[in-house]
Each structure stands twice: as structure tokens, then as C-alpha cells.
């Protein structure tokens, strides 16, 4: 019996997706609501973005509700209204992010100039025109303090994570609790602690190392938590394989587990840096601040990017505020770069 091959190839379809006519309907409702909001604002004494947004939202939701009620029914109409609120929530959450990014860019770029990265403020005042002076001292300060904080925090953070994932001894619950508790410590408390423990007792002076120590308190929990997450993702078979080959626990961890988690641990470090790069309050308390490059973290007050921004802002003049925005732009670019690097790394690992 010969089978006749069907000449018709059936194509996959998705009949549940919105048809062009339905999309057109939505666009129509959108435009109508827009028109209503403009109309109402023009006619009544209401003003401002809030008025436009609020009336547009009310008009859009009401129209959508009526449309759904008469075509589909009460339940669908409620669904549509809920959708309106939910989307609005998302818009409200997204708006500040965009506003912040745009603001910093627009206000900050005016203050950016090439020599900014190679001069400090010893010869200029914050009120001087933006082109004079720069933030090199702040960059050096942030770089040094964060680097030293990394040196302190990475071992402690990773060791903590290793305890929680590899050893899991009887301190596991307390340590997990403590890590979480530490991540909630307000940054100013970290500053006060270093102040009371080291500066008032022993050092009696501001210095960069003190800043690093305060930053470590904030960095360790971030690194510990992210490292823990990353280590937990390593499948147990890997560890079993190492031990089955006759490896001791420490060899297995050092030579098998940690390398496997390498990029994740780097991500943890990057996130730790991003966390503390913008901290202001503790540095004000323990690192002081200065207008000059200071390459010695053990001696003398040290500036930082947040300090620079803070000081510029507090001077209050037009020029100094411009400096503040420029400083923030630099800081934000650094955070953005770090963040992108972290995401790139974790995407590569296929997390």
C-alpha cells in the first residue's frame, strides 16, 4: 500500500497572541487617554507632570476597563485594571533610575576635563571654576583604600564562605547569622567603630588604613555571601571526584572547588568593590579628607571620591556643585564598569 505524502506542510501558530486588530485597539485607547489627559490639564487649573501622568493613568485604565467589560466581561475587566496598576508600578520603579542616570550625565559632563585626572585640589578652591584643579587625589585615595580593604576582606570573606559550604561545622548557623547581621551594619556605625577602637585609642589621627578597615566591615559580608552562593553552585560530584582520587579535603577545595568557582569569586570581589566605592560617611569619620595626593595609606588623612563630592557639595557655589556632579559622574562610571564586568563574568559562567 503506497502512502500518499501530504503536500501540505502545517505551520506552527500561536493563536493566543494579540492580533493586529487587538493591538490597534490598544493603541487607540492609549492615544485617546493621552488626548484626554492633555485636554483635562488644559481646561482645569491642574499642572505639572504629576497631573498629566495621573489623568492619563485614570483615563487609560477607565477606557480599558469599559472596553473589556463590554466585550469580555467583569473578570477580564478587572484583570485589565490590575494590569494597568502593575505596569504603572514597574514604570514608577524604572523612572528614578533613568532620571538619575540622565541627570548625572547631563550635569556631570560639564565638569569633566582632561586635567581633572592628573591634578588635585592643593592649588585650587572648590569655588574656583571647574577647569582648575581636579580629583586625582580622590581617585588615588579611593583606589588605595579600596585595594587595601580588598586585601583584608577577600581572604576573610572567602574563608567564611568556605566554612559555610565546605566544612559546615557546628558554627554554621551562628556564622550564617553573623554574616547576615554584618551586612546590615549601617556604614556610619562601621566608621564609629574604627574611630573608637583604633583612632581614639592608638592612632589619634586620620589615615587611609583606617578608612580601609571601616570599608572592610562593609565589604566582608558582601564577598562572603556572593562567594557562598557561587560555591553552592559547584556540584557535589566535583568534590566527590577530588576526594575519590585520594585528595585531602584542603587539596580538593584548593585545587578543584576554588578554581571551578573562580569567575564567581571574582564576581564576588567586584561586587564588594562596587559596594564600598561609594561609601561616604565612614570615610568622613576616619579617613578625614585632604586636597592633596597622599600615597601613604598609613599616614595622613586621605581623600576619596565620595569625600570629594561631599566637600564640593557642601561649599554650595555653582562651580563647586558642578565639581560635585562631575565627581559623581566619575564615581558612577566606575560603579557601572564594575557592575558590567561582574555581569559579564557571571553570564560567561552560565549562572
Amino acid at each position: 500500500m503506497t502512502t500518499v505524502q501530504s503536500a501540505v506542510v502545517v505551520k506552527p501558530t500561536r493563536p493566543w497572541l494579540a492580533k493586529p486588530s487587538q493591538r490597534l485597539q490598544s493603541v487607540g485607547v492609549f492615544l485617546l487617554a493621552l488626548a484626554i489627559s492633555y485636554g483635562v490639564v488644559a481646561v482645569t487649573p491642574m499642572k505639572g507632570k504629576l497631573a498629566y501622568a495621573a489623568i492619563f493613568f485614570i483615563a487609560f485604565t477607565a477606557l480599558d476597563y469599559l472596553l473589556s467589560y463590554f466585550t469580555l466581561g467583569k473578570s477580564a475587566a478587572k484583570d485589565v485594571v490590575a494590569r494597568g496598576f502593575i505596569v504603572s508600578g514597574m514604570v514608577i520603579v524604572t523612572a528614578p533610575i533613568l532620571s538619575i542616570l540622565v541627570t548625572v550625565l547631563l550635569r556631570g559632563y560639564k565638569g569633566i576635563h582632561a586635567s581633572m585626572f592628573t591634578t588635585d585640589m592643593r592649588a585650587s578652591s572648590m569655588n574656583d571654576p571647574v577647569a582648575s584643579g581636579g580629583l586625582m587625589h580622590a581617585l588615588i585615595g579611593t583606589f588605595l583604600m579600596v585595594a587595601i580593604a580588598l586585601i583584608i576582606s577577600v581572604p576573610l570573606g572567602i574563608l567564611t564562605a568556605l566554612y559555610l559550604t565546605e566544612i559546615r561545622g557546628r558554627f554554621t548557623k551562628p556564622i550564617a547569622f553573623l554574616v547576615q547581621a554584618m551586612s546590615g551594619v549601617p556604614s556610619i556605625v562601621a566608621g564609629l567603630f574604627i574611630l573608637s577602637a583604633l583612632i581614639y585609642t592608638v592612632a589619634h589621627a586620620y589615615s587611609g588604613i583606617m578608612g580601609s578597615l571601616a570599608l572592610s566591615i562593609l565589604m566582608i559580608p558582601t564577598i562572603a555571601r556572593t562567594s557562598e552562593e557561587v560555591l553552592l553552585l559547584i556540584p557535589p560530584d566535583l568534590r566527590e571526584a577530588g576526594v575519590a582520587l585520594g585528595g585531602t579535603q584542603w587539596r580538593t577545595v584548593a585545587l578543584v572547588v576554588v578554581p571551578a568557582a573562580r569567575s564567581g569569586l571574582v564576581t564576588a570581589m567586584i561586587l564588594g568593590i562596587a559596594r564600598v566605592a561609594g561609601e561616604t560617611a565612614p570615610l568622613l569619620l576616619v579617613a578625614g579628607g585632604s586636597d592633596q595626593n597622599n600615597l601613604n595609606p598609613f599616614h595622613g588623612p586621605m581623600a576619596s571620591l565620595p569625600y570629594y563630592v561631599w566637600k564640593a557639595y557642601s561649599f554650595g557655589s555653582i562651580e563647586s556643585v558642578r565639581r560635585a556632579w562631575a565627581g559623581i559622574l566619575v564615581l558612577l562610571v566606575i560603579v557601572l564598569v564594575l557592575f558590567t564586568a561582574a555581569r559579564f563574568l557571571s553570564a560567561r559562567k552560565g549562572k
Binding site: 494590569r83 538619575i100 556605625v189 561609601e279
Partner: protein, 328 residues
């Protein structure tokens, strides 16, 4: 060798750890206990430094509203005229943080619902990235942006609130100063806290058991009806935990509040009036010119803040972990 019951006796499995492993364990355990050490030290030093002042004031430290330092010629505290009470700032801390929650939580929950149930995959990835990015913004950025960009708009809303809802005690105003009020500080804090609450809510919503979701849909539920019937009952406690974590963050915020709020040392329940403060920003403010004794009082204030945020965050984390989210 059989025991009395006839069953073979169990053998005890022991391993004698190698020396290198013992060293490993010790090193890792010590590293792990570093957090215990650090937290303990924080508590100890703050308490030690602030002790004399705390002893002097006793409970009044938390309940008193006066903060003034009067020194005699020798530079010691004139006990009769000196008082350290952080009540106004403590109330301000809680007030600003609560305003932040009232604004942030509804919006965050809605956004989390959008991301989990409505967003197309590519858009979702993008939005989640930028929300996580916002979590990494430095707080001084929020302070500057809040002061220069947000405040004019919020001022306008405050005026509206006063005009239409001014009969509610919170929104009354004796003096019509709308700028730099706890309300504005609360809104700025809300924006800082939104990423935390949104991402925890998202985690919790994403774990809604699929079989319940399908059961609801199979019964003819619309998407919203399903969310109401299944997702919200399931995710409720997780969202509460996330909100509390946001509360802890808002309570400890220093620089953003300092920039935006006009710090005045008196209790202010009228959140639209431009006067207030929180403990963290007060510490920063007074620190610059504080004498030795006042510094001790500030340490005491820091201790109170430390314990308060510790309490809130611990409860919050416990709730979040119990409802299936990841701790923060």
C-alpha cells in the same frame, strides 16, 4: 561479632584527619569566625566608649529630647546643664524609614509582579539588570539627586497633600516650609530601598508552586485572579521580610538623609514640615565639632542605632529565609 539480639554489631566509622586537613579546618574556621569577632568588637568598643554617658543618662538617653553640652572651665561636663537624649532623632529615624516603606513597598510589589508574571523574557532581563544596578548606586548620589532633582517635584506633591489632606494630623503644618522635610527624605529613602524589596519579592513570587498556579488557570481564572488567589497568599510573608530588610536599610542611611533633610533637633511628627533628622545623620552632623564628652555620647547613639538595625535585620532575614527567599 553478633550482639545479644543476634544482629551484627555496627562498626564505628572513624577517620583520623590528616594534619594538613586539621590546619585547613582551623584556618577556615578562624576566618569564618572573623564576623563574630568583628561584630563583638563593634558592640564592645561602642559600648565602652559610650558607657560613661549612657550610665549618666540611663534610660533618658533614649527618651530625652535634649541634646546640649555645657562644659565648665576644666572641660568637664557640667552635669546640671548637660543632657544627651536622642529621642527626636530616634523618632525621626523610624518616621523617615516608615514613610520610605509606605511609598516603596506597594510600588515594589507591583513591579515584582510585573517582572514575574507579565514581562517578556528579554525585557525582564533588562529591567532586572537596571534594578540591580540601582542597588549599587552610592548613597551620596541619591542625596544629590534627591536634593536637586526630586525635591522640587516632591515639594509640589507635599503642597497638594497639605491642601487636600491637611486635616490629617501628619500633614498639618504650622509653618509652611515645604522643603527638606521628613516626607522628602522618606521618598528618597524609598527609592533607595525599592531595589531590595523588589528583588526579594521577585524571588518569592517566582517560587509560587506551579501546580497551584495551573489549578487556578484551569478553573478559568484570569491572570490577576490567579495572582490574587495563589501568588499573594503564598508570597505574603516573604514580602514582609523583604520590606523589613528595606526598613533596616532605611534606618541606617546617613548621607542621603543628611543632604536632603533639614536637621533640627526636635521631635517632628508633621512630616511635611522641613525639619527632622535621624540618628545616623545626627552623628555625622555633630561629629565635626564634638568635644571628647560629646563624642562619647555620639558613640552611645551609634550603639543604639547598631542594636536597632541588628534587631530589625535579624527578624527580617529570619522571615525571608523561612519563606524561601535567599537571605541578605
Amino acid at each position: 561479632m553478633p550482639s545479644a539480639t543476634g544482629l551484627p554489631q555496627r562498626r564505628e566509622l572513624t577517620t583520623k584527619p590528616r594534619f594538613s586537613d586539621k590546619v585547613f579546618r582551623t584556618v577556615v574556621t578562624t576566618g569564618g569566625l572573623s564576623s563574630l569577632l568583628i561584630l563583638g568588637l563593634i558592640f564592645s568598643f561602642l559600648a565602652y566608649q559610650g558607657f560613661s554617658i549612657l550610665k549618666m543618662e540611663g534610660f533618658h538617653f533614649i527618651t530625652g529630647s535634649n541634646w546640649q553640652v555645657v562644659l565648665d572651665e576644666a572641660g568637664n561636663i557640667d552635669k546640671a546643664n548637660t543632657a544627651f537624649g536622642i529621642a527626636p532623632m530616634l523618632i525621626g529615624t523610624i518616621l523617615c524609614a516608615l514613610i520610605a516603606l509606605v511609598v516603596a513597598v506597594p510600588v515594589s510589589v507591583l513591579a515584582a509582579l510585573y517582572l514575574t508574571f507579565y514581562a517578556p523574557p528579554a525585557l525582564k532581563r533588562f529591567l532586572v539588570s537596571i534594578i540591580d544596578l540601582m542597588a549599587a548606586f552610592p548613597s551620596i548620589l541619591f542625596g544629590l539627586w534627591g536634593f536637586f532633582i526630586l525635591m522640587p517635584s516632591v515639594e509640589y506633591w507635599a503642597k497638594l497633600l497639605h491642601k487636600y489632606l491637611g486635616w490629617i494630623p501628619f500633614f498639618k503644618m504650622e509653618v509652611p516650609v515645604f522643603t527638606r522635610s521628613p516626607f522628602i527624605a522618606g521618598v528618597v529613602l524609598a527609592i533607595m530601598v525599592i531595589p531590595i524589596v523588589t528583588s526579594i519579592s521577585r524571588e518569592v513570587f517566582a517560587q509560587t508552586p506551579l501546580d497551584r498556579v495551573q489549578a487556578a488557570y484551569a478553573l478559568g481564572a484570569s491572570r490577576w485572579a490567579m495572582i490574587r488567589a495563589v501568588v499573594i497568599p503564598y508570597g505574603r510573608s516573604g514580602v514582609v521580610g523583604g520590606a523589613m530588610l528595606g526598613l533596616g536599610r532605611a534606618m541606617g542611611e546617613t548621607v542621603a538623609v543628611y543632604t536632603v533633610l533639614n536637621i533640627v533637633y526636635q521631635v517632628n511628627w508633621h512630616i511635611l514640615v522641613g525639619a527632622g533628622g535621624n540618628v545616623a545623620s545626627m552623628i555625622l552632623l555633630k561629629f565635626g565639632e564634638a568635644g571628647a564628652q560629646e563624642v562619647k555620647a555620639l558613640m552611645g547613639a551609634g550603639l543604639v542605632l547598631f542594636l536597632l538595625t541588628l534587631l530589625v535585620n535579624s527578624i527580617a532575614n529570619a522571615i525571608v529565609l523561612r519563606s524561601g527567599g535567599k537571605g541578605r
